[in-house]
């Protein structure tokens, strides 16, 4: 058992007892990765969704049993389920989303050229991701954006590692096919 695992165990025990410092530690460890994954899945209002994810983690913390890797996969499972639920509720009440270009322009940047290049890269990357199947999106984003291992991704998605590897290969092949000509990533 590594020191990191021991810290996690201590934090998990304290979090179950309702300690605030433990929840701060867990939040600082996992919140950026979860928010990155939610943004990669083009979630609407990802910050609000992140708060909902942690509230649900608090409610179900007593049901969890495992180590640090299992906990990370478990939290991403909750995040994915919350994302799907939100997408379903949004589908019942459709809204007009604001485009990425508008959001980037609204954020403001000193260098207009850099902003344009960044927005183009974001748009191309999101377009390439959006052309994948939902499972392939999950695999690519959890592996590349959230940094989970094959085993953790398998646990988060409820599949076996072999299926995750197969999804990964197919996702890369689809990305290669779907990339527009003349655009190099």
């Amino acid at each position: 058992m590594s020191s990191q695992d021991w810290d996690f165990e201590r934090a998990l025990t304290a979090a179950r007892a309702g300690s605030e410092w433990a929840w701060r530690e867990i939040y600082a460890e996992l919140a950026p990765l979860i928010l990155r994954y939610l943004r990669g899945r083009a979630a609407i209002e990802p910050e609000d969704l992140l708060g909902d994810v942690f509230v649900q983690v608090v409610g179900k913390i007593d049901q969890f049993d495992g180590g640090a890797d299992d906990f990370r996969a478990w939290v991403f499972t909750i995040a994915r389920h919350r994302l799907i639920d939100t997408a379903r509720s949004r589908a019942r009440r459709p809204v007009d989303p604001v485009s990425d270009e508008v959001l980037v322009a609204a954020a403001g940047s000193a260098d207009a050229e850099e902003q344009a290049l960044s927005s183009l890269a974001v748009a191309e990357a999101r377009k390439a991701i959006a052309q994948l199947s939902p499972d392939q999106q999950d695999v690519v984003l959890l592996r590349l954006v959230a940094g989970l291992s094959i085993k953790e991704v398998a646990a988060a998605l409820g599949k076996n590692p072999g299926a995750i590897k197969a999804l990964q290969v197919r996702a890369v092949a689809a990305l290669r096919r779907n990339l527009p000509e003349g655009v190099s990533l």
């Binding site: 939040y27 928010l35 992140l50 509230v55 890269a121 191309e124």
Partner: protein, 317 residues
């Protein structure tokens, strides 16, 4: 190329590509970097640049932590409630323990005592008391006298006579009351006759003294009295007739109720189910009808009495 159209090293190539992809996605160096690996590495870097690790602002973090701690407080309060409700109080534990002990003792006592009572080996007073108590529950136990417990069991449905007698009692009481009423009416009539005799005597005395003056008036008064007597007799006859009719109806209803209850009790006793509630209901309904008819008759008699008393007062006046 093999006979199946598959290159001999295709599986090896696939495994190699898979390993490269795994290494690239895991952020490990891949050698040699072929075109696919290069393209995939570029995509990985671009994706990392497109979705940089976000820095969560303090405001958002504080808001999230407030929500988290609220959820913690709610969850701990709910778990405390669950624990408190799941843990029995000392009174509940004592009650459960006592209930189980009482149930066990009752079962043991019933089993042992019931067996002895069924065998009839209990002492005489206890056996009799047990047989009597069990007979109320429909259980036949031998008594010490050796009599048939069925004969001792008070079976109100199989033997409707008490009920019929009880039904008959108000009617008989009404008959007695009617007889009293008749006696009272007779007394009134006697008093009326006495008053009439006294009036006749007075008229006769007055007639002896003054034949000339009030002769026609006395005749008119005598005619009036005769007419009032005739009206009283007619009203009495009519009231007596209506009272007798109501009494007959009540007796008919009582007879019908008795007949019906007897028939039904015979049927039930033949069926072997003496404790049927429907029979009690039928007898109760018939009894209610009879009591209603008797009540009507009483009301009618009361009206008769009031009318008769009114007429007698009028006559006395």
């Amino acid at each position: 190329m093999s006979g199946y159209g598959v290159e001999p090293d295709e599986m090896k190539k696939a495994t190699l590509v898979d390993q490269k992809i795994e290494a690239l996605l895991g952020g490990q160096p891949v050698a040699p970097m072929d075109a696919v690996a290069t393209e995939l590495a570029a995509f990985r870097d671009a994706l990392g640049g497109a979705f940089p690790l976000p820095v969560i602002s303090e405001a958002i973090e504080d808001a999230h932590l407030v929500r988290i701690m609220d959820a913690v407080a709610t969850s701990s309060a709910a778990s405390t409630l669950v624990l408190q409700s799941a843990r029995p109080t000392p009174v509940q534990r004592l009650r459960a323990r006592l209930s189980s002990k009482v149930a066990a003792a009752t079962f043991a006592f019933t089993t042992a005592f019931g067996g002895a009572a069924y065998a009839g080996v209990l002492p005489q007073p206890i056996q009799d008391a047990t047989a009597t108590a069990a007979s109320f529950l429909g259980i036949d136990l031998p008594s010490s006298s050796g009599d048939d417990p069925d004969s001792e069991r008070p079976n109100k449905v199989a033997d409707p006579t008490p009920d019929a007698d009880r039904d008959r009692v108000p009617v008989g009481a009404d008959d007695e009351a009617n007889e009293d009423d008749d006696a009272r009416t007779d007394g009134t009539e006697d008093r009326k006759d006495d008053t009439q005799d006294q009036a006749d005597d007075r008229q006769a005395g007055e007639g002896d003294g003054s034949e000339d003056g009030d002769g026609p008036d006395r005749d008119e008064a005598g005619d009036d009295r005769d007419e009032s007597e005739d009206r009283d007799e007619d009203e009495r006859d009519a009231n007596d007739d209506s009272a007798e009719d109501a009494r007959d109806e009540a007796e008919d209803v009582n007879d019908d109720a008795r007949d019906g209850s007897e028939d039904r009790s015979e049927d039930e006793s033949n069926d072997g189910d003496p404790n049927d509630d429907s029979l009690d209901d039928s007898v109760g309904d018939a009894r209610d009808e009879a009591e209603d008819a008797t009540g009507e008759m009483d009301d009618l008699d009361a009206d008769d009495r009031s009318e008769l008393e009114g007429s007698s007062d009028h006559d006395q006046d």
